[in-house]
């Protein structure tokens, strides 16, 4: 009959279309992958990923944690983790991640000069991301945190399609323009079937060190409202604090160098 004919045609079409898509394969030795994304640039994604990873490590002393910097164009992890230099190669020709504060790190920043731009079109970026994911000797990791670049493009698609991801954390500042992009980020993860663990509201409020007056420089509570609309949890609310920037710039993440600070 015609309906079973239609159904057969639909199935055939779906099979043909999915032939070009990569198969999801887990990274050897890595139990769970969490990605930190934002949509918008400049909201503090890398800082959050960096601090999150270290906090994970501190809280669960027996767990092995890794940090992958997937921001090919603007790799920040080397500076934040105070790591430099080209990775060594193992006898199996895999790159050995650089370690600091107990975290195994890999970044494009270790493979290129500090001033060299990565002027690549999407296709080459996909190949680089693949190398950073699979041609690294991660060892046995309980968690791998991936710091994603801003946007909803090639890198995000490549990572989501190639490896199974336990969940995504989306970072945003309270401004509307950042929230609009965070929303797009959440939708993208929905399209590629990655569960969104929750939102982080960053740069929420600034307290003047002199008079203690609080200013919501980038607005207030925008992220909470978005979380409510999307039915997501707020994983945290991080204020603007000079300590965070100072310690990032010097490569001594704030949770290690100043654990008592507000941040």
């Amino acid at each position: 009959s015609s309906s079973s004919g239609d159904e057969a045609l639909r199935d055939k079409r779906a099979r043909i279309l999915s032939r070009g898509l990569p198969k999801q394969k887990p990274i050897e030795g890595v139990k769970q992958v969490v990605v930190v994304a934002s949509g918008k640039g400049g909201v503090g994604k890398s800082t959050t990923a960096d601090v999150l990873t270290i906090t994970c490590f501190i809280l669960k002393q027996t767990k092995e944690v890794g940090l992958l910097d997937a921001d090919i164009y603007g790799p920040s992890i080397p500076k934040m983790m105070n790591l430099k230099g080209n990775p060594e190669l193992t006898p199996k020709n895999l790159m050995r991640p650089l370690k600091n504060y107990g975290i195994a790190c890999m970044s494009m920043g270790f493979l290129i000069e500090e001033t060299a731009p990565v002027v690549w079109r999407g296709l080459m970026v996909m190949s680089a991301v693949e190398k950073l994911l699979r041609q690294v000797d991660w060892g046995q990791l309980d968690y791998l945190v991936i710091d994603m670049p801003p946007g909803t493009g090639d890198v995000q698609l490549s990572v989501s399609q190639n490896i199974p991801i336990a969940g995504a954390v989306i970072v945003s500042t309270p401004q509307d323009v950042a929230l609009l992009d965070a929303r797009k980020g959440a939708e993208m993860f929905r399209k590629v079937h990655v569960p969104v663990l929750g939102l982080v509201q960053n740069m929420s409020v600034f307290q003047c060190p002199k008079c203690k007056h609080e200013t919501h420089i980038f607005g207030a509570d925008g992220v909470r409202d978005l979380a409510k609309t999307l039915g997501l949890d707020i994983l945290g609310d991080v204020p603007l604090h000079v300590n965070i920037r100072e310690t990032c710039d010097s490569g001594q993440p704030v949770v290690i160098s100043q654990p008592q600070s507000v941040a």
Binding site: G41, S76, P117, V119, R121, L180, K184, V192, H213, G219
Partner: protein, 226 residues
Amino acid sequence: QVGILDADLCGPSIPHMLRPQERAVLQCARGWLPVPAGHTLPIALMSIGFLLERPDDAVVWRGPRKNALIKQFITDVAWGDLDFLLVDTPPGTSDEHISTVEALRPHQPLGAILVTTPQAVSVGDVRRELTFCRKAGLRVLGIVENMSGFVCPHCSECTNIFSKGGGEELAKHAGVPFLGRIPLDPQLSQSLEEGRDFIQEFPKSSAFPALTHIAQQILDTSQGSS
């Protein structure tokens, strides 16, 4: 007459910031008509934000599709006679940037303004951007240090939340003009959020003098070139 081309396809912010009354992109014989910014200002806008069915639809595209649209924004939009076309690019040095530079090459762009925040991680990325401009043969008009300092509205104490001077250092080191420092300005940010008449409110904000100074330098440079 100024045009603004929003080349950030994944995170278009221009439609939200300028909030034109009519968002529809109409067609004419010469191509797409840019959207007027409104408020009787001679500013024309083009952004993927106007082409989406819903403003929060995600654009999850790979490179080739993005390249095609950016080329269209430059060649198939009936911009008309413009004194300036400003292109707002996303972060990075990827498809959007390569396509923008390539598509603009026959039109001999005046140059690029690089914006950084003062801290080391941002300056690090902008150094790469500088090298990109050099390789692409794009003149660097100068560097702007944004979010440089916050003056507490209560006690007027200035705190350098994101550090200070990184942009200026970079400009000196790279031998390009330092266009200026813009402070963190909650008033500016708020008026953009609340959809207040940004054009009316803006002159009273603390960022206004800095931005005016930067604009003046660009105007002077363009006079010098013509």
